[in-house]
């Protein structure tokens, strides 16, 4: 049981604010990713929620109650750090049971709960190991177990997978997702990896330069970015403008429906993802002609730069038959074009 609400937070270390005007709600049982490039202020936000940093403005509410006057040890949130930070003087079980011991539970009860959480996190049988006698992935799981065993209202995870190698990372993503689904603990998960955020969370909140730019489901952020910066963060490369007429955006690449864009005289921007651009050898219905200027083989797909009258277009295609200098037809399927609200 726990929901988290951040209202108008301003956070910083020196004279300059690092995070400004941040408002965000995480619902009870929800897994929310806080996504952003390195230095965007993600850790700063988690530290403010955990109570290590006092906001300069705004409030943090847990279950509807402001917690700004409570120190970290009196808040119903537990933070898991980027490094596992296990206590080197305790064994694995001692680490996981640490918080329960601090609450004064009796040893039998502690053992029962620690065993249960070790089963859940796949650490069964490792309780007596020293912390340097388990692998990096197991250390991260122990750090997670140490937090989960306290049944926090809100769990804060600060890039807990960033120190793991690619394979282990993928396993741990699925693992954390599964644990979250089973325990239904309200989770704010910080990552700089868009794939990780999209695959793991119910909702994603994108932070750029200390400001929240868009919050929504993974599909909303990916397919309906709020502005060109958000689109760029998720790999958007094609941006073009046009003129609004009767709910249609008229552009050099065709006319596209834009129901939620107002006809206010400005020239709205539109975008299409590189993998949604269709290519054909011959001109056809709704196509524009262009010339390939550059290609780059990327394994599963080939990235192609095409000069058209309306500007440079980047396409990502599974076909590898295109070469520089070739002329081809480019089609923007109308349902794949995203017109930004002006």
């Amino acid at each position: 049981m726990g929901d988290l609400r951040l209202e108008g937070l301003a956070l910083g270390y020196g004279p300059e604010a690092v995070v400004r005007d941040l408002t965000l709600s995480v619902a009870d049982g929800e897994m929310m990713s806080l996504l952003g490039p390195s230095g965007a202020g993600k850790t700063t936000i988690l530290r403010a929620v955990a109570g290590f940093i006092r906001p300069r403005a705004g409030r943090v509410l847990i279950d509807g109650r402001p917690v700004d006057d409570l120190p970290p040890e009196r808040r119903a949130v537990v933070m898991v750090f980027q490094k596992a930070l296990l206590f080197p003087f305790l064994d694995v079980a001692g680490n996981i049971g640490f918080g329960l011991k601090m609450q004064g539970l009796d040893p039998g009860e502690i053992r029962r709960r620690v065993d249960a959480i070790m089963d859940l996190t796949g650490l069964a049988g490792l309780g007596r190991r020293k912390v340097h006698e388990i692998s990096g992935g197991q250390q991260q799981r122990a750090a997670l177990a140490r937090a989960l065993v306290l049944q926090p209202a809100v769990l804060l995870l600060d890039e807990p997978l960033s120190s793991l190698d690619a394979n282990l990372r993928q396993q741990m993503r699925e693992f954390i997702q599964q644990i979250q689904a089973e325990t239904r603990v309200t989770t704010l998960f910080v990552t700089h990896d868009q794939g990780e955020a999209l695959m793991m969370s119910h909702r994603v909140s994108l932070l750029l330069g200390g400001r929240l730019r868009q919050t929504g489901t993974p599909r909303q952020l990916f397919y309906r970015p709020a502005d060109p910066d958000v689109a760029r963060f998720f790999g958007g490369e094609n941006f073009f403008d046009g003129r609004m007429e009767n709910g249609l955006l008229k552009t050099a690449f065709g006319d596209f429906p834009a129901p939620d864009t107002e006809n206010n005289g400005r020239r709205p921007l539109a975008t299409i993802r590189p993998e949604d651009v269709r290519l054909a050898p011959e001109a056809g219905n709704g196509s524009v002609m262009g010339e390939v200027t550059q290609t780059r083989f990327e394994g599963m797909a080939t990235r192609i730069w095409i000069r058209c009258d309306g500007g440079l277009v980047v396409a990502l295609t599974p076909e590898s038959r295109w070469t520089a200098g070739q002329r081809l037809a480019v089609v923007f399927p109308p349902d794949k074009v995203r017109v930004f609200p002006a």
Binding site: R74, K83, L85, L90, F98, G99, M102, H132
Partner: protein, 304 residues
């Protein structure tokens, strides 16, 4: 995984080769030290066993050791020495931990503080002892100052703090000297590891006292214990401070050993050396333990 093992083995051979290299470079110095130190100990051992041809004693016997150990005065001296070493070490340790915590707590990294902290490290014990004598003696600076301030009626009323029953003068010298040593050791551990683990403790709902008891103390324990053992070993075996600031009876073990050794009666010499060897044994034991604890502290840091 595999590459990790290879890397590990590689690193280990490299480390071994490096050790060997180092040993080669140090060999001449080590040889001299072994000869002087080991030779001295052996000669001393022989003399303590009663082999003193110059004085006509050639029979090897453990009698001197037995005599030393059975002498009730030896136990009194041992008691006094332990009192001096343990009391000064414990007080210095408590003050040092408090000091180190305060410095990290208020994140004081000022150069001045660290400089001031290092000053006592550079002043020889003898100098401190002599200063203490000037300061605390019955007609010393402190006594006159107290009298001038009207705290006491005359300098003669000043409490006896040197050559006193409680060895307070000796303790003060040692405590003043050892606090920076222990505090700097503890400080370096705290600055390396303390902060992050304390934050973990806070988010796991440990209160201030619990964080001290269950995180800080275990974190600093190996280094603190190692520092204390070294300090204990030193104060247990050092001669000059109790010699200057102690009473004529009972004497601390090192003073007693020296007195017997330097006695005009050559027959007292084996006893003096026997005491010296007993001290050496205690000191080496403490240092060995300290080295082991220091390794433990080091291996812990490697985990993080």
């Amino acid at each position: 995984m595999v590459s990790g093992q290879i890397g590990g083995r590689d690193a280990r051979t490299r480390a071994a080769r490096w050790d060997l290299c180092l040993a080669g470079l140090l060999a001449p110095a080590l040889a001299v030290m072994l000869l002087l130190f080991g030779g001295g100990l052996t000669l001393g051992g022989l003399q303590a066993l009663g082999y003193l041809p110059g004085a006509g004693m050639t029979e090897l016997t453990a009698a001197h050791f037995t005599r030393v150990l059975q002498d009730p005065d030896f136990l009194t001296s041992l008691g006094l020495t332990l009192h001096i070493a343990l009391t000064s070490t414990v007080i210095a340790a408590v003050v040092s931990v408090a000091l180190a915590l305060a410095l990290t707590r208020w994140s004081i990294r000022s150069r001045l503080v660290h400089f001031v902290l290092q000053v006592p490290l550079t002043v020889p014990h003898l100098v401190v002892a002599v200063s203490m004598l000037f300061l605390l003696a019955p007609a010393g600076l402190a006594a006159r100052l107290a009298a001038a301030l009207g705290l006491i009626a005359s300098p003669g009323e000043f409490p006896l703090l040197v050559n006193d029953r409680g060895s307070i003068g000796i303790l003060l010298v040692y405590i003043w000297k050892e606090i920076p040593f222990i505090a700097l050791m503890v400080l370096s551990v705290l600055q390396n590891a303390g902060g992050e683990l304390i934050e973990v403790g806070r988010t796991l709902k440990a209160g201030p006292w619990q964080r001290f008891r269950f995180i800080l103390l275990p974190v600093i324990a190996p280094s603190l214990a190692a520092a204390c053992l070294i300090v204990f070993a030193f104060t247990f075996g050092a001669f000059e401070v109790p010699w200057l600031l102690g009473r004529t009876y009972p004497m601390s073990l090192p003073v007693r050993g020296y007195k017997s050794y330097a006695d005009v009666d050559l027959a007292a010499r084996p006893e003096g050396i026997a005491i010296g060897l007993i001290i050496a044994l205690v000191v080496m034991g403490a240092v060995a333990l300290a080295v082991w604890l220091n390794r433990l502290a080091g291996s812990r840091e490697a985990i993080r």
